[in-house]
């Protein structure tokens, strides 16, 4: 028996949905969650604004964005790939450990065909995402627009960001 045509709802119902993501961490592992969620939201037709602040600034500083790192120190949930083994905390600060953990994490991410942070932000901007930098973080680090990715729309104050994202859902990472 044939049923009447079924057409997917591609979301005229969510027009006007807005998401604001505050990226405040500069560790490699903590840089990803906001970008993955924001990128997914863009693919669903949601308007997305990213606000980079404090340590999250490292994701958009040209001289640092390629060099984010991951450390097992203080992270008791970090296990070696493919098992339940983990690095004992007393060993986590040992020389070379951060470099090794960073390399391992980068490989796991690349294996899933997820891009590195700068390329991921390129993709997000291509999908229509908006990138904003925090005024106080810029002032603290003595940085201006020339130090940041070219697609940062502006350096704005916290209140500008709050005003701009009126009515948005908000994620703080």
């Amino acid at each position: 028996m044939t049923t009447p045509s079924i057409v997917p709802n591609f979301g005229s119902d969510n027009s006007g949905r807005k998401l604001a993501i505050i990226c405040s961490k500069g560790n490699l592992d903590m840089a990803y969650p906001g970008l993955i969620l924001g990128n997914a939201a863009l693919g669903e037709g949601v308007e997305v604004h990213f606000f980079f602040t404090f340590w999250g600034f490292d994701m958009i500083i040209k001289s640092r964005m390629e060099h984010l790192q991951f450390s097992p120190a203080g992270n008791t949930a970090m296990h070696l790939p493919g098992g339940n083994m983990h690095i004992p905390q007393f060993m986590a600060p040992a020389p070379g450990m951060t470099a090794m953990a960073t390399k391992m994490l980068k490989k796991s991410i690349a294996d899933l065909d997820v891009p590195e942070i700068p390329e991921f932000l390129d993709q997000i901007v291509a999908a229509g995402g908006h990138l904003w930098a925090c005024r106080m973080s810029a002032d603290m680090n003595k940085l201006d627009m020339s130090d940041l990715r070219d697609d940062i729309e502006a350096i704005i104050s916290a209140s500008d960001f709050i005003e701009m994202t009126d009515g948005a859902q908000l994620l703080f990472i």
Binding site: T3, G43, A127
Partner: protein
Amino acid sequence: MPIIEIAGRQVNVNEEGFLTEYDEWSEEIAKALAAQIEIDLTDEHWKAIKFLREDYKTEGETATSRRVQTVGGISVKEQFALFPKKPSKKMAYIAGLPKPKGCV
């Protein structure tokens, strides 16, 4: 699963309306599916749809937006221009494939 008639053919779809049988798809059906979501298919649209069909044949899953860019050579920006708002789902729908599973 429901069966619907589209472009004069009966096809199996899931509860959202995505085709469930790879071989039931045809270009005529693609045109009808596209029309239902208000997309006029141009050569650029066809390039994306054909890439998705071919890629599915070898990979067994629907390419994500990222894969359409890196392997299919159609930039994310272009995908959003061709299939506004929800490019990966719209492309998959017209190509008669399941929604992509990947997160990125």
